[in-house]
Subunit: 271 residues, 2 copies
């Protein structure tokens, strides 16, 4: 069984997609085909959108589901006349929110993922560049400006986690890969020792790391089960010995890793 | 006027934050202080959450606003007894969606930003690594695997855009910085000529680029208005001459740039 979903927004469509996608996860037995239409911010564009929805309804003989985050009341009422079942986020929540806050709302398009506060924007770009400059232990190994230092052996998700923390939360996240060199020395590498309270470890089940590394470098020592087991054990021992909080990310998405790090390290979002 | 907002989720809290944040942008005159409580997935954690909400209500003498994406009906009904005004995402939409789809939902926690499809997960990690390996024209300059190649002069948002496209949509985005060298040659650089249809340009207003570069390297030729004007003019001439679609990103967030690139280049999300 397949249904078509339209995400309609006067901005990027990210909110509409996020909300719709979350609701659809509760219907795991249905297959959804989705169409995102961002920047629908004029009556002409709403008209074109309605035609597209109506064509789809006719072709499929089923009512398409429409998740809309249009803000303008006129465009919303225009869209409501399409042949889809419209889930209108602002219509649904604005009135009860106005009651709870005892204040009238002022509808403005595209605010939610727009430019917003320019200093927030720069913080975020800076955080991305910070993550890139402090990725994989490349010099300078100066972590004084880091909000957090993610550490772990190769391919435990450090880089995507740091980038996600930067983009989503404006967090300055450095990452330091643990290698045999570090384990042989037997104690915390010097640059990490200076910022011990910022450390956060990632680990993963051996079978999964073996598989990930094998895809990257088949038949290498790097990907061998023996090497993987050795590195993971050494890393986890280090985390425990040094009192570094750590996560096993085997069954976690990047979002879950990032949200767990934020929570466990009591980090505050900067944007 | 200040109000406290709680985002309550049995998963990462990202959907709850997105929903609440989007709605709150429509109340620009109120200051909101927000608390995100992710992974609230047991009766005990809901109890602790309720105590925190009730304490806040008492201290502030105002009803806190609660945006909840709890999926479990029992936990939801437990949370509804707190002293905040609860906006319950699933309670609001599940029944009308069940009617529209003519199918019952099956509530499962943490699905929306969870691991999901493992091959999706790997696509995404691969896309992030692809963006890093093809950032700023570093070798290998082989763009055959790219879904899109973002180009423009230094500091026009290419890198954050590529990373966002990777993380959010699983798109393999390379980026190629245009420099004086390229402009002097007078035609499209060789590696780009081979993949002309994948090119997408970014440009920005001179005043803003001047400001961004000045913060990075004060008093440099690189940051001078003269240099900035020269580079931007050369880049825009190149885009127009070669028929490369391009965006002026001066007033755009990373999300808006990414959503516009997806739309204008007709890219399909890979996750």
């Amino acid at each position: 069984m397949e249904r078509t979903i339209f995400y309609i927004s006067d901005g990027t469509g990210i909110t509409a997609e996020t909300l719709g996608h979350t609701l659809l996860t509760q219907f795991p037995d249905t297959t959804f085909q989705s169409v995102t239409l961002p920047f629908v911010n004029t009556p002409e564009k709403v008209d074109r959108t309605i035609r597209r929805i109506n064509d789809c309804a006719e072709e499929e003989g089923k009512t398409p589901l429409i998740f809309s985050t249009l803000t303008d009341p006129n465009l919303r009422s225009q869209l409501s006349r399409c042949k889809g079942k419209v889930f209108d986020f602002f219509a649904t929540f604005t009135t009860p929110m106005e009651q709870a806050l005892e204040i009238k709302s002022s509808p403005v398009a595209g605010r939610s993922h727009g430019m917003g506060n320019p200093s927030n924007y720069l913080n975020r770009i800076d955080a991305v560049h910070y993550a890139l400059q402090h990725d994989d232990g490349v010099s300078p190994r100066d972590y004084s400006q880091a909000d957090i230092i993610i550490t772990g052996v190769s391919r435990t998700g450090k880089t995507p986690t740091c980038l996600y923390l930067a983009l989503q939360f404006g967090i300055q996240a450095a990452n330091y890969p643990l290698t045999d060199d570090d384990f042989e020395k037997g104690n915390l590498p010097e640059p990490l020792r200076l910022e011990r309270s910022k450390l956060f470890g990632l680990t993963v089940e051996a079978e999964r790391l073996h598989q990930i590394r094998r895809e990257r470098r088949p038949n290498s020592l790097y990907a061998s089960m023996k090497q993987v087991l050795k590195e993971l054990k050494a890393a986890e021992n280090l985390f425990m010995r040094e009192g570094i909080p750590f996560l096993n990310i085997t069954h976690m998405s990047i979002e879950e890793i990032a949200a767990s790090v934020m929570q466990q390290a009591s980090l505050k979002r900067r944007i």
